[in-house]
Structure formats: structure tokens, C-alpha cells
Symmetry: C2
Subunit: 401 residues, 2 copies
Amino acid sequence: MPVVVDTARFLADLHELRQIGTYKTGVHRPTYSKEDMDSRRWLMTKMAEIGLEPEMDGIGNVIGRHPGPGPHLLVGSHIETQNQAGWLDGALGVVAALALARSGLPVDVAAYVDEEGHFDVGFLGSRSLIGDLTEADLDKARNRTDGTPLRQALRAAGLSGEPRFRLDPTRYKGAYELHIEQGTQLEREGLRAGVVTGIVAIWQFAIRIVGQQDHAGGTTMAERKDAGLAAVRLLAAIDREFPKVCGRRSTWTTGRITLSPGAPSIIPGEANILFQFRDVEMAVLERMEECLVRLVQESNRNERTEAFLEVIDKAIPAVCDPAMMTALEAAAREHAPDAWQFMPSGAGHDSQNLARIMPAAMLFTPSIGGISHHWAEDTKEEDLALCCQILATAAERFLAG
Amino acid sequence: MPVVVDTARFLADLHELRQIGTYKTGVHRPTYSKEDMDSRRWLMTKMAEIGLEPEMDGIGNVIGRHPGPGPHLLVGSHIETQNQAGWLDGALGVVAALALARSGLPVDVAAYVDEEGHFDVGFLGSRSLIGDLTEADLDKARNRTDGTPLRQALRAAGLSGEPRFRLDPTRYKGAYELHIEQGTQLEREGLRAGVVTGIVAIWQFAIRIVGQQDHAGGTTMAERKDAGLAAVRLLAAIDREFPKVCGRRSTWTTGRITLSPGAPSIIPGEANILFQFRDVEMAVLERMEECLVRLVQESNRNERTEAFLEVIDKAIPAVCDPAMMTALEAAAREHAPDAWQFMPSGAGHDSQNLARIMPAAMLFTPSIGGISHHWAEDTKEEDLALCCQILATAAERFLAG
């Protein structure tokens, strides 16, 4: 008998989790905050209720192991959120994994910690699970917003001294993840599910520009070494030049600009920029980086300031496993005929790390208005339920294949 | 017998004041901070020691009245500083005024509060003294950095309920102010004093750009409403267009850019910019404002975001009093032959407000390297002493004239 998900229970669980760290219609659960840790403990209780064996590791990953025989699937996502963000981003994939386990599938349920990158390492949990993070990496890591050292945050969360888990790839036939699209491609086409073909890599940079802090009246325009103005000119050049070297679905974003000291009558002596770009193709990523390096060099030839480019993170784009995609495709054809498509993921996900040690694939639900990383993020409940069922059917097919 | 300043005492006073709120080789005395209030009380003690009658008013202005007969001169500057800024900016003019009073001149010594504009009104003290600030203005005023209401800051400083002073223009023949240049014009010409011909007006604006906060991966470049990118494009347009409409000595400065929420993977939903420009000519100021308004309109036609331009402050440029300038010129010829010049002030000063109710004029000392609003700001002690003597001689001449 084909697997059937208890979608009412699945939606009830999602709404229960939404109560932890409520912010307007969204939630606020930054990594290792009280709300985040509460949600991890909530998850462990749920796991135990359906017969899984829950454990939290020394970096905050929660895994509920299926006690029966294999082959097993690893299914999950993340449970912390961006600041004042949506109720589904991450939570959906974790609660869907619970639903699959509850339906009887041999699924280990996982919540990978800090997919949202509150700490400057990026993908703390999934990278730790595949053995890609050394203790020295953890020693250096800091919170991007307030600079808190990761070690201090772990201590405050009660995780100091606990061992970190390492995934055993021989235990798993593959890893599935359900996630919201965080864009409008599905919605615009009137579709209800997206089978992901690959995950973009995010390349993150910090650009620091050093000028000379001065009085905004006494210093003539010709004498100034205005770090803020140099930043504006560099970002305007990126805006002009990147469309010439990017790929069809590349994105690039300046998330933060900080001028120091940041007062109305002082010429900024320093500017700090957080910049990132994304693509699914390595060649395109490398072309964009080349362009960025060239523009920083040009700035240093043209301006009276000095710009420094620091690489924060350069991930590798991931391709989804063909057999796992085929299982998703068949399940989508069954439950949502003519209402699904293949598509790349413009956002980074833990699955890109899992894909380095086992087969991995992802399914997307639509996002209303494409809104994401904002408390107004939402998805129709019938689409959530449909996609959870597609994922379960695909998991069953793939395990049987 | 011509007036002679005790310059050793004058320099000793300056160094004593430097001890209050020391930061590296500069000082940190933001308006109404403990350090700022300590410096005001220090000043009142000094005033009393030389026979002046010191009083502090309900907004923090300190005035030490000369007890003898008139005509009097009002001499002073400000005593609070920008954050982590220089030891002379403001303090020099206040301590020089003390030196003039000590030398026997009929001088009222003044420290006008918040010339540095920590609060979003600008020139709180001198504007209050000339009757240009209503109680309603004070009700609305907030600290530019942390948003503290002015009323709350006044309460914390123990000033609530005290009356605000109003200057009686019939008491004064004029107002003099000694200040550092905050630029490199004197230094580059090898000069030691500058007789100021006029003071620029500062026009301050807040630009708010509203877009749509979104995930930096899921949202394609074509779909984005990126408030940060719109800000960069607008500031790049200002950089391009302002040189076409500005005057010979105009300056324009973006002191702060804030992107919200300011995270690496989120497209900024809002950008806030502090922008200002300065000139000594009303016609030039109006031309620059016209240009700014046009560029904001262009942004709103070209971008998918909406920009709002808010006027924070539009001061009126001031011309220095001819008779007071002539007295300064004669004193400079006497004490610094061939080592002085006439020059406009690129920075705003309290004297521009005093000039609205009485004759006013200013003298500049050089600034080493032109550095200002930074703790490294400095001036040679022999130039400080020389300019204090020039000011005293000019004051004596003007009073006699």
C-alpha cells in the first residue's frame, strides 16, 4: 500500500512550532537564541513521540534516528531562522521529515544548525556533519551581527564539551530536503511543486575601503579621501559590469554597507561592505570573481582610498542526484500532474553539503509573492500538504528502486 | 598699553581641559555626557576664578558675564566634541575667550551647547540664545546616534526646568570666535592665521528609500526591489551631477548609509542616507538642492523602489562684520605680518547664528594636516598662542573703534 502522509498532523506540527519565537506572522529564532534552543528541544520531544531516537550534538545539530533496519534516508532542513523572518523557511523541511517518519518510512529526521549563517562560517551544522569543520574553524567563528565568538555562544547554549556527530554515509541511501522556493518562478507559472536540479553556490566577500576621516566642511572635495564615496563608486561599477559577465540566473547582492564613524558632518574614514554572488556553474562564479577583483583594482588605481577584498566563503555548486530526482518527478506527476517543473535553486541549502558524501535532492513549494527572509513569508497550506505527500511518495519509490 | 595675553596660562588651561574625556591624543565629550557636563563645570570654576559671573542655562549653555561696564564683547565657542575627536575643536575658542577676559578686556565668555550636532536640531545652544528654538522644537529633538529624546538627555544632565538664556544684543558690540581651520588652506600656504570672511551654511537631508526585503538567492535580479542598489545608484548620480552645479568651494558629504535589515543574504528592503552640502552663497545652495530634488525624482522614475527626501536643516550663510574683520586684519598684520590671509569658513559655526542679532567675526588657526573630527587633530602651540594674541588685539581695537 503506497505511503500516505497524515497532512493534518503535519500542518498542526508546523503551527505548533510557529509559536516558538513568534514575530508578527513570522518567527524570530536566531541560532542559539533561547527560542532556537527551545525549538530544538521541542523537535526532540516530537521525535521521541514517534519512536525515533533523538540526540543533539556539540554544535546544536538534532538528529532523530530511525530504530529499524535500513536502507535509511536522511530527511531534514534547518530550524533556526533569519532575524524576524518567515515561519516556513527551514521549519517546513524539518516538520515534513517528521511526517515522513510518522508515516512509517525508514527516515532519520535532521535539523542542521545555522543554515542561515548567523555565524561567519556558513552551514555550521551540515558542514560539521560531513567533517568539513575543524576545531580551529570553530575557534575563529563569530556572530556576523554582534561579533559574539561561536565558542561563547555554544557555552551559553549549554553545548560546550558535547561531541559533534559525523554522518556515516553507508547508513543512508540518500538525503532529501523539502524547502520553500524563496522566489516567484512557481507562482508565476501557476505551479505547486518544483523538483530541484541543482543548488547554487554562494560566494561571499567582505570589502573594506580605507580613506581619511575628516571634517565635512573644512576639507575640499579635491582633498578628500572619502571611503564612503569610493564604496558608492565601486558598487556602481559592479552594478554596471556584472550584467556583462553573469549567467542566466546569477544573482549578486550588497547586504550591508557601514560607513565609519557614520555621522552627518564627518567624511567617512572607512567603509565596510558585505557582498555576495550566486550561480549554479563554477565557470560563471569564477568569471564574476575575476570581474570583482578587477573592479577593486580599478578602484585602487582611480581613488585616493585603498580597497581590500577578503573572501569569506566560496562554496561549490551542487547537482542533485538523478535517481532521487527521477523519484521526485514520478511522485510529482502522480500527485500534481501538470502543476510542477524542474528548476535550479537560487538559494544555498544544507543539501549541497550532504551531496558531497551521499546522493541528495530537493523539492520546492511555492512562496506567496516570492517573499522570503521576512516575517510576511507564506505558502498556501494545500501546497504544503501536497509537497509533503510528493516527498513521501518519492522517498518510498527511491528506497524501493 | 596694548593688551597682552598670558599665553602660557592660556595653553595650560587648554591642556587641563584636555584631561576631561581623554581619548588617545584627543577627547570624547559628546553633548550632555558625563565628560561634557564635567567640562562645563570646569569652565564655570575657571570663570569665577577670573572674576566673571558664571551661569549655566536650561539647555547647557555656559556664560560667564563680565561684571564691569560696557560696551562688552561676547567671545566663545563650544566645549563638547564629536565622538573620539580632537582636543581643540571648540575648546580652543572657549579657552581663548577666558584668556581675553583674564587679560582685562570687557568680555563675556560663552560655551554654546551642541555646536557639533549630536542632536538632530543643530546648533542647539546658539540658536536657543538668539530665540530661534521653540519648546516644541526641543520636544521633537533626538540624538542622531542612539535616538534618545533631547528632553530625556536634559533630565539626565540635571538641566530640566532651568530657564533658557536669551542674549541681549544691546549689551554687546559684537561676537568673536577663534577656531581651528579644519582644512589645509593655511598649512599649504605656510600661513599662521586666517581672518574669516563668511561662514558656509549646511543643508542637511535624510533620504529614505523603500524597496522590498527578499531572499538574495530566490529573487532574480529582474524581480528585485533592492533599496540598497537604488541608494548606490542615486549617490553615484549625485557624484556625477553635483560638480556641474556646485560653487568654487562647495562640499557635499554622505555621512551615513544604513541598509535594513543589513544581513549578507537579504536584499535590503530599506536604505537610509544622511546627506549634506555646504556653501557660502544662497544661490549655489539653492542650485544644489534643485539638483538633489531632480535626482530623487529621476530615481523614482527609473527604479522599482521609492525614495523620499526629507529636509533636516537649511541654515542661512553668514557674512562676517566688516569692522570686526578690519580689526582682525590690523591685529594679524601686527603680530603675524605676511603669515595670514582672508578666507571663507567651510564648516558651520555658532557665529553664523550670533551674526543674526549682532556683528560677528571669526579667526582661524591652522590645522596640522587638515585633520579634524578625529582624535589626531592638532595645531602647533605657537600658532595657538599667536592667534589668541591676535584675537585679543583685535578685540581691543574693535572696542576702541
